[in-house]
C-alpha cells in the first residue's frame, strides 16, 4: 500500500510527464477502439442485414434441399413443422416459405429475380422487409408482388403495374403468370433491392406448382449468440423427421467467408496499427523512465533495493497505463458512439460495398466488449515491457552511476567534427539542431522511430491494397472485360438484344486500325435463365467468336474439363460453380431461356461441352459461353449483328483515352454507339479501389494521430530534458523565436531520419512480400467472392499513391514540434536553469 501511495505520489509530482504518458496511451487506445469497432460494424451489418431482411437466423428444409436446391425436395404443409419449431425453446418466431427463381419481364425489359413466397402474417416476425417499403404497401393476397427499388427501376415498374414471371415449376414445366406490383422496398443493399422479390405464399405455390408444400421454414432466435444451441435443439426435436436444420452460417457460407476475409484484412490492419500504437507508448515510457536515472540513484543511495525500484516503476507504469487505457476508452467510445448513432457515409462507393453481402452505404461501428479487453491487455503489457528494461537497467547501476545518469547521458554526446562557420543565423541554428540530434542517439532514435513505424506501416498497408487491386484489375480485364468495349448506347445498363451493332465486321476492322489496339473480338450478350429439370438460375449468356476471343481474353486458359467454345459448333461452356449449383456434369443438357429482340421468349437445350474455373465464385456462377452464331439465333439477332466489340490494348492505362477518342469519332457517333474503358465496365473494381482509399484515409488518420502524439510527446520529453540548457540560451540573449527555430529544425532532422528508416524498413518489407506473396489461402473461399482475386496477394508499391500521405506524415512529424518549441520559448530562464 505504501508503495502504491509512493507511485501515485510520483505521478502527481511529475504532472507534465504523467500527462504526456497518459495522452500517448489514451490516443493509442482510442484509435484502436474506433478502428476495431468500425471493422466489427461492417461485419455485424453484413450479418444483421442478410439475416434480418431475407434469410432469418435458421431454416428447416427437407433433407438434401440445401445441397441440391431442387424444388421437389420439399416440406409438406400437413407436417405442421412451423408450429413445432415455434414451440422450441429459444425460437422467437417461424414462417413458412416457397423460394425459387424467375425471369420477370415487362414490355421489352426483363430481369432474373429470386422469388420468396411468404406468409405475410408471420414473415414480418422473422424478417423486416415489410418495414422497408418506400412506395405502395406490403403483400396481402392474390397475385401480388413486392420488388426492390433497383429491380423496379430496371423493369420500369411502379405500384399498380404488372409483371410477367416465367419460372421453371417444381414438375419441370415452364410456369408463367401475371403479378401486380403492390409495393417497392429499399434496404440500401443492392443484392436485395435489385434481385429479391416477395409474393404471397399461396401465389408462389401456384406459380411453382407447389401446392401443399414449402421449400423451407425460416425462424428467428431470441438470442443471436445462442444460435448454435437453438439449431441443435431444433435438430433434436425434429430428429425423427427427414429434415435438415441450418443456422445462417451454414446457409450463407459466402457471408461467413466474406466476414472471415474482412476479419483477416482487419487483423492485418489492426496488427499494424497495434505496432504503431505500441511504438508510441514504448517511446514515451522509455523516455520517461530514462529521464529518472538521478532519482533512482538517490533512492538507491538511501538504501532502496534495486528490486524495489523496478517494482515501483512497474507499479507506476501499471497505474499510468491503466489510467491511460480508461481515458482512451472514454475517447474511443465517445468517437465510436457518435458514429454508431450517425453512421459513416460510404454511399458514394455503393457498388464496392455491394461486393460485401448485406452492406448498405452507411456503416455503423459496433463496440464489442472482448475487443476492449484485448486492447487493454496488450496496451498494459506493452507499457510494462517498455518500462521493465530501463528500470531493470537502472536497478543494476550503482547509486553513484545512477545519480550521474545525466552526466552519462552527456558523455554519450558524439564528437562532432564539423564547425559552426556560417554567417547566417538560420544555418547556425540548423547546425545546432543537427548536433542535438547526434548528441543523444538513443533519444533521437526513439523520437524518429515513431515516424519510422508510422511510415513503414503505411507503406506496407498501401502496398498490400495496391497489390490486391492490381491483381483484381489484371485478372478481371483478362478474364472477361478486355480493356475497351464498343456497344450501342444504353447496353451497359440494359442487356437487351435490341441494343446491337449492325455491322460488326467493318467496325471491327476500323477499330483495329488504332495503333493502341492489339486485338478485337465480337460478342453477343443475353440475359438468360439456365435450368436443369429441378432447378433454374439466372446467368449472362456470352456468344463469342473463339479464335478472335482468344486474342482478347484468356478464358480458354481456365478450362477444367471438356473443351473451349468451338466455332460453328453448338454447346455451352459453364463455370464450375454453376455446374455444382445445378448438379450438372460435362455432356449434360441444360435449358437456356432468353428474351429475344422484340420481347419474345426463346429456349434451347444445349449440352455442356466444357467447364471452366477462374477461382472467382461470382464469375464462375454468372457467365455461360457459347458460339456467337448460336447466341445470335437464340437472341433473334441477324447475321453480322453483335452486342459488343471487345478490344485488347497494348497498354491498359490507355483505355480511358482511347474510349474518349472513339466517343468523339463519327465511326461510333453516327451509329449511336459508345466506347467504354475497363474503368466504366468494371465499376465494382474501380469503386473497391476508391473505397479502399477512403478506408485507408481513415486508417491513416488514426496512424497520423498516434504518430503525431508520439512524436510530440518525445519532443516534449526531449525539451524537458534540456530545460537548463535552453534556460542558459535564453539568459545569454537568445530570442524565443530563435529557440523555437532550433527545436523545429531538430524535429525536421528527426522526421527526415524517421522517414529514411521508415522507407527502408517499409520498402524492404514490401519488396520481400512482393516476391514471396502474402498467402491468404486459409480464407480463399472468401476471396472467391471478389472478382479477379486469387489466394496469394503480392504487395506493390505505387509511388503516385504513397508520396502525398508520406509527405503529410513528414510535415505532421515536424509541425507537432510547434508545441514543445513554443513551450521552450516561454521558459522562465531563472526557473529553467535552477530546476531543469
Amino acid at each position: 500500500m505504501a508503495w502504491l501511495r509512493l507511485a501515485f505520489g510520483n505521478l502527481r509530482v511529475n504532472r507534465r510527464r504523467t500527462a504526456i504518458t497518459l495522452l500517448s496511451v489514451a490516443v493509442g487506445v482510442g484509435g484502436l477502439v474506433f478502428l476495431w469497432a468500425f471493422i466489427d460494424g461492417i461485419n455485424a451489418q453484413m450479418i444483421n442485414n442478410m439475416t434480418g431482411y431475407v434469410t432469418g437466423d435458421l431454416k428447416v428444409h427437407q433433407r438434401g434441399f440445401h445441397d441440391d436446391r431442387e424444388m421437389n425436395i420439399a416440406l409438406a404443409e400437413r407436417w405442421n413443422l412451423t408450429e413445432e419449431v415455434s414451440a422450441v425453446a429459444g425460437v422467437a418466431a417461424t414462417t413458412p416459405r416457397v423460394t425459387g427463381h424467375a425471369l420477370a419481364s415487362r414490355e421489352d425489359q426483363s430481369r432474373a429475380l429470386q422469388v420468396m413466397g411468404v406468409d405475410s402474417a408471420t414473415e414480418s416476425r422473422v424478417t423486416r422487409l415489410d418495414r422497408s417499403i418506400v412506395r405502395g404497401r406490403y403483400l396481402e393476397r392474390g397475385n401480388e408482388i413486392l420488388v426492390g427499388v433497383d429491380a423496379a427501376g430496371a423493369l420500369d415498374v411502379s405500384p399498380g403495374d404488372e409483371l410477367v414471371l416465367v419460372v421453371q415449376a417444381s414438375d419441370g414445366s415452364i410456369g408463367a403468370d401475371r403479378f401486380e406490383v403492390v409495393g417497392v422496398f429499399e434496404t440500401g443493399i443492392k443484392r436485395i433491392d435489385g434481385f429479391v422479390a416477395q409474393m404471397p405464399l399461396a401465389a408462389a405455390q401456384s406459380l411453382y406448382a407447389f401446392q401443399g408444400r414449402f421449400t423451407e421454414i425460416a425462424a428467428r432466435v431470441q438470442d443471436a449468440d445462442r444460435l448454435d444451441e437453438v439449431v441443435g435443439t431444433v435438430g433434436n426435436q425434429l430428429r425423427d423427421r427427414n429434415v435438415e436444420v441450418l443456422g445462417w452460417p451454414a446457409l450463407m457460407p459466402s457471408l461467413v467467408q466474406m466476414v472471415a476475409f474482412h476479419d483477416a484484412v482487419a487483423y492485418i490492419v489492426i496488427f499494424v496499427v497495434f505496432v504503431v500504437v505500441a511504438a508510441g507508448i514504448v517511446n514515451t515510457i522509455l523516455m520517461s523512465v530514462l529521464e529518472r536515472g538521478r532519482e533512482f540513484g538517490v533512492m538507491m543511495a538511501l538504501g532502496t533495493p534495486s528490486s524495489r525500484i523496478v517494482w515501483l516503476v512497474l507499479l507506476e507504469t501499471t497505474v499510468l497505463a491503466g489510467l491511460g487505457y480508461l481515458l482512451g476508452l472514454v475517447l474511443g467510445l465517445s468517437v465510436t458512439g457518435y458514429f454508431s448513432s450517425n453512421g459513416l457515409d460510404f454511399s458514394a462507393y455503393i457498388k464496392a460495398m455491394d461486393t460485401m453481402p448485406g452492406l448498405s452505404g452507411i456503416v455503423y461501428p459496433t463496440i464489442e466488449a472482448q475487443r476492449l479487453v484485448v486492447i487493454g491487455i496488450v496496451v498494459v503489457s506493452v507499457a510494462l515491457l517498455a518500462a521493465a528494461l530501463p528500470a531493470w537497467n537502472a536497478g543494476r547501476n550503482s547509486p553513484l552511476e545512477a545519480m550521474g545518469a545525466r552526466r552519462t547521458m552527456i558523455n554519450r554526446i558524439r564528437r562532432i567534427h564539423w564547425q559552426v562557420t556560417s554567417d547566417h543565423r538560420l544555418l547556425i541554428f540548423a547546425q545546432m539542431a543537427l548536433r542535438s540530434v547526434f548528441r543523444n542517439p538513443r533519444r533521437s532514435m526513439i523520437t524518429a522511430s515513431a515516424t519510422a513505424f508510422g511510415l513503414a506501416a503505411y507503406l506496407f498497408l498501401y502496398a498490400f491494397a495496391d497489390g490486391f487491386f492490381e491483381q483484381m484489375i489484371q485478372n478481371s480485364t483478362q478474364q472477361l472485360s478486355g480493356h475497351v468495349q464498343v456497344m450501342a448506347k444504353g447496353h451497359d445498363v440494359d442487356l437487351s438484344p435490341d441494343l446491337r451493332i449492325a455491322d460488326n465486321r467493318t467496325l471491327q476492322q476500323r477499330l483495329q486500325e488504332h495503333p493502341e489496339v492489339e486485338a478485337a473480338a465480337p460478342r453477343v450478350l443475353l440475359r438468360a435463365m439456365v435450368a436443369n429439370p429441378g432447378k433454374s438460375l439466372p446467368v449472362e449468356l456470352v456468344g463469342i467468336a473463339p479464335e478472335q476471343e482468344r486474342a482478347v481474353t484468356e478464358l480458354s486458359g481456365y478450362m477444367q474439363q471438356g473443351t473451349y467454345v468451338q466455332s460453328g459448333e453448338t454447346g455451352i461452356v459453364i463455370g464450375q460453380k454453376l455446374a455444382e449449383e445445378l448438379g450438372a456434369r460435362l455432356g449434360d443438357k441444360l435449358v437456356i431461356t432468353v428474351q429475344q429482340a422484340g420481347g419474345d421468349l426463346a429456349s434451347s437445350a444445349q449440352a455442356i461441352r466444357g467447364i471452366y474455373r477462374t477461382g472467382s465464385d461470382l464469375f464462375d456462377t454468372e457467365y455461360v459461353f457459347t458460339d456467337i452464331n448460336a447466341a445470335r439465333r437464340l437472341g433473334g439477332l441477324l447475321k453480322g449483328e453483335v452486342s459488343r466489340i471487345v478490344l485488347r490494348l497494348s497498354d491498359r492505362a490507355k483505355s480511358a483515352g482511347l474510349a474518349r477518342i472513339l466517343n468523339q469519332s463519327p465511326l461510333l457517333t453516327n451509329d449511336g454507339l459508345v466506347a467504354q474503358g475497363w474503368e466504366s465496365l468494371l465499376p465494382v473494381v474501380v469503386q473497391m479501389v476508391e473505397m479502399s482509399q477512403v478506408d485507408f484515409y481513415l486508417i491513416l488518420s488514426v496512424v497520423f494521430v498516434v504518430v503525431a502524439i508520439g512524436v510530440m510527446n518525445t519532443m516534449v520529453m526531449s525539451v524537458m530534458e534540456r530545460t537548463p540548457e535552453l534556460g542558459v540560451m535564453l539568459a545569454l540573449g537568445t530570442r524565443g523565436s530563435q529557440l523555437q527555430l532550433t527545436i523545429l529544425f531538430e524535429a525536421f532532422f528527426l522526421a527526415i531520419l524517421g522517414m529514411l528508416v521508415g522507407t527502408v524498413v517499409g520498402g524492404l518489407l514490401v519488396v520481400w512480400l512482393g516476391t514471396t506473396g502474402i498467402d491468404l489461402s486459409s480464407i480463399s473461399g472468401a476471396l472467391e467472392a471478389i472478382p479477379g482475386i486469387t489466394d496469394r496477394i503480392y504487395p506493390v508499391l505505387i509511388f503516385d499513391h504513397v508520396w502525398l500521405p508520406s509527405l503529410l506524415l513528414f510535415l505532421c512529424s515536424v509541425l507537432v514540434a510547434l508545441y514543445p518549441a513554443w513551450r521552450a520559448s516561454r521558459l522562465d530562464p531563472v526557473e529553467a536553469i535552477r530546476h531543469g
Partner: protein, 228 residues
C-alpha cells in the same frame, strides 16, 4: 558613474500560499569597473539580486537601471535584448551549451549579435588564449575539466564586452586552487579591460579578492565593506 542602480527593490516569491520575501527594499549602486561581491548565507537574496540586475527576473517593486537604461517594466523581448547587449553571465554549474565546442560557446553571443564569422572567431580565439585555454578551442564541454569549463564560461561572458558581468557562485563547484586561479583571471580581466564584475558567493577566497563586499541577510543589505 553608476553602471547599476538598484533602488528599493523588493521581490516576493510565493510557495504554497506562503509569501517569502527574497529582497526587501534593497538599494545598491555599482560603479563602472568595480569588482563587487554579494555575500550572505543561503536565502539571503544574493542570487535573486543578481537575477534582477541581469534582467532575468522582475521586481515586485522598486527600480533598476543598468548602463543607464531603466529595466523594470521592460517587455520580455526587450529584456532579452538587454541581456544580449549589456550583460554577461557566469553560472555556478558552468552551463555551457553541450553541442557547441569551447570556441563556439564563446562565439555564441557574438553570433547572436550578428558579428561576422571571421571576426567572431578571431575574437573568441583571442579571449580563449587570454583565459589560458589555447589548444582546447575545439573541445566539447564534456571533454573539459570543471575549471576549464568555467574559464570558457568567463570567456563567453566577457567576449562581447558587456557593461557588466554577473557571476553566481562561480567557484562553488571548483577546488580551491582552480577557484583561486579563476578569480585571479577575472580580476586580471577587470583590471586590464575595466569590465565590471558582480559575484555572489559564500567563498572567503572570493571575498578576499573583492574590492567591495556587500553583505546581505534576509533580503536586506546588512552592511558594506570597501577594501583597498
Amino acid at each position: 558613474m553608476s553602471i547599476v542602480n538598484v533602488e528599493k527593490v523588493s521581490r516576493i516569491y510565493r510557495q504554497d500560499s506562503i509569501a517569502v520575501k527574497a529582497l526587501d527594499e534593497v538599494s545598491v549602486a555599482i560603479e563602472a569597473g568595480e569588482f563587487t561581491t554579494l555575500v550572505g548565507p543561503s536565502g539571503s537574496g544574493k542570487t535573486t539580486l543578481l537575477n534582477q540586475i541581469g534582467a532575468l527576473d522582475e521586481p515586485d517593486s522598486g527600480r533598476i537601471q543598468v548602463a543607464g537604461e531603466e529595466i523594470t517594466g521592460l517587455s520580455r523581448k526587450k529584456r532579452t535584448l538587454l541581456r544580449l547587449w549589456k550583460v554577461g553571465f557566469v553560472f555556478q554549474e558552468y552551463n555551457l551549451i553541450g553541442v557547441l565546442s569551447a570556441q563556439e560557446n564563446v562565439e555564441y553571443v557574438l553570433m547572436l549579435r550578428g558579428v561576422p564569422f571571421r571576426e567572431r572567431r578571431a575574437e573568441a580565439r583571442r579571449i580563449l588564449v587570454e583565459v589560458g585555454l589555447q589548444g582546447l578551442e575545439r573541445r566539447l564541454p564534456h571533454e573539459l575539466s570543471g575549471g576549464q569549463q568555467q574559464r570558457v564560461a568567463v570567456a563567453r561572458a566577457i567576449v562581447s564586452k558587456p557593461a557588466i558581468v554577473l557571476a553566481d557562485e562561480p567557484t562553488a563547484n571548483l577546488d580551491s586552487t582552480t577557484g583561486a586561479a579563476l578569480l585571479d583571471l577575472m580580476r586580471k580581466l577587470n583590471a586590464e579591460h575595466g569590465i565590471t564584475f558582480v559575484f555572489s558567493t559564500h567563498d572567503p577566497m572570493v571575498m578576499e579578492r573583492a574590492r567591495r563586499v556587500i553583505h546581505l541577510r534576509d533580503g536586506r543589505v546588512e552592511r558594506e565593506e570597501i577594501r583597498s
